[in-house]
Symmetry: C2
Subunit: 314 residues, 2 copies
């Protein structure tokens, strides 16, 4: 049995939105996969009852504390040992669940990722990533999108290795096109870090390097499957796409591709390079977003990415 | 008489598109402003004749050489002394024209900006900027968009000063909201350079600092009139917007705001912080883009921004 742990108390609309999302996901999960909810058993039970869903549909791990969205992540993680996030991470570490997803306090999830799960040996710095739909009907992986804002060239190189493994094992691409995000396709275009990273990526033989790619072309999907950048730039790209989506929606634009830029469709961003499957959801996740986060966590677990990365880096 | 110099030989569709754009601009320029074309007089004359436009409508400065779009900028600038770009810059330096705009080899225009016009005393590094339409019907200035890819905090601070002066004198805003682009609105969010720049901007008293702004919100116009970032990040934002515009167009989206993201409407990006009014156009500029670049150059000249910046920095 594949067990997907979910932080029922995490997110602006928790626990309602999370439990509703779990119910929706349960109907779509393949045989042999189940959801484990971490949170207040009474509240969860009440929501299940209100939704006319069997009380024993999910395994519930009862927790008594909640880390709020605006709490100091590291301090809260230390103090609130019976919070859904902390208990969830300890279950993941102990192998009682196969993955853990939360739309709660992002900082606390990253503290759990780094301190409880820890980075894979050989990985300099883990990353958070985003799989983004492209206008040609595929998707690309962007990393880092916010964990490491100042990246050394060696870290960018490792992100290419990690992204390549993700694309092969989760996106199921045989030979992913791995690109470095820059401001010109020529090798000599870029900042100090990207120019040095280009050298490393060009010399490396761990992935198919297709050179620099400009931000103008990443959303078409025509040039790259994996796009590597530092967390400052990646976060800006992600949020700009979100901003465009929201402006288009506010203006009543109904375009099939722009609709697919809705973050809710993807649901979560995987933390990559740590010893476990951890997924970070958007704070304002709807039940639909939670459902997709759960399904994505399941795919990530099935891809056995952590084991693959351990083999690559050791 | 206000004289706007235009590189008739610059751009993928030069000289036709440039001359056609100049004809269109001439019909919209206010009394007392005139266009001066730099380029091959015979070719320009033939286009004017084909367009049934009087041969003496523009002053033409005949030049015999052209710097190609893919030539090495610095080398070409030294060798091709009778090119439209080099002659144009020397006319600007000598005060024979009040501004110079080109859709040609960007590198060569920047060489001219830095070596012929030179930076204003006190300005550490000039910037190129983009005035971008916002969904609330206004616009914001983004700088730097590609000249300095690795910026020290002091340079980012100066960009705020320069952007503020632009917003006051060209965008005609009394008290522009100046923001620092980052990945969270909190002061402690950002990379090493932006966090240090935040400190400087917070302590400074040369503009109204409104704090960090995320890329999600810059295109609404609700939070900032001037957005400061390094040239790597700014270039990526600009090109991502261009990419979204093109995907939306390809998909047949016809939204009034998205239509206004067409770079052709703005026409050019001013080089700021040098001793002269220089405008860089898109290589693939159409006559419509050239027309708007000329009109924008005229507004920039009338705003007397160079003089204002000299006063501020000296």
């Amino acid at each position: 049995m594949l067990r997907i742990g979910i932080d029922a108390m995490g997110g602006d609309f928790a626990p309602e939105a999370v439990v509703q999302g779990a119910i929706a996901a349960a109907g779509e999960l393949p045989e042999g996969s189940t959801v484990v909810l971490f949170g207040d058993a009474e509240q969860i039970g009440a929501i299940l009852a209100a939704e006319n869903h069997p009380a024993d549909a999910f395994e519930i791990v009862h927790t008594t504390e909640v880390i709020g969205m605006n709490e100091h992540p590291a301090q809260a993680f230390v103090k609130k040992t019976d919070s859904s996030v902390v208990v969830g991470f300890h279950h993941l570490k102990a192998g009682k669940i196969d993955g853990f997803a939360s739309a709660g306090n992002t900082g606390a999830i990253l503290v759990g990722s780094m301190q409880v799960m820890q980075q894979i040996e050989g990985v300099i710095r883990p990353a958070i990533s985003a799989q983004i739909n492209t206008s040609n009907g595929r998707s690309f992986l962007l990393l880092d999108v916010g964990l490491n804002v100042d990246c050394k060239p060696e870290v960018l190189y490792q992100y290419a290795v990690i992204g390549n493994a993700y694309a092969q094992n989760i996106m199921k691409l045989e030979s992913p096109r791995v690109a470095l995000l820059s401001i010109g396709e020529e090798k000599e275009k870029g900042n100090i870090a990207t120019k040095a990273a280009y050298e490393l990526m060009e010399q490396g033989n761990q992935f198919r390097f297709v050179g620099n790619v400009e931000s103008k072309y990443i959303f078409t999907g025509d040039l790259a499957d994996v796009v590597v950048c530092d967390g400052f730039v990646g976060n800006i790209i992600l949020k700009q796409a979100e901003g465009f989506y929201e402006i288009a929606k506010a203006n009543g634009v109904d375009d099939p591709y722009i609709n697919k830029l809705n973050y809710e469709i993807v649901g979560g961003t995987p933390v990559l390079g740590i010893n476990g499957n951890v997924m970070v959801g958007h704070g304002c996740s709807s039940p639909f977003a939670i459902k997709n986060m759960i399904l994505q966590t399941e795919r990530t677990i099935r891809g056995r990415l952590v084991r693959k990365l351990c083999e690559i880096f050791n």
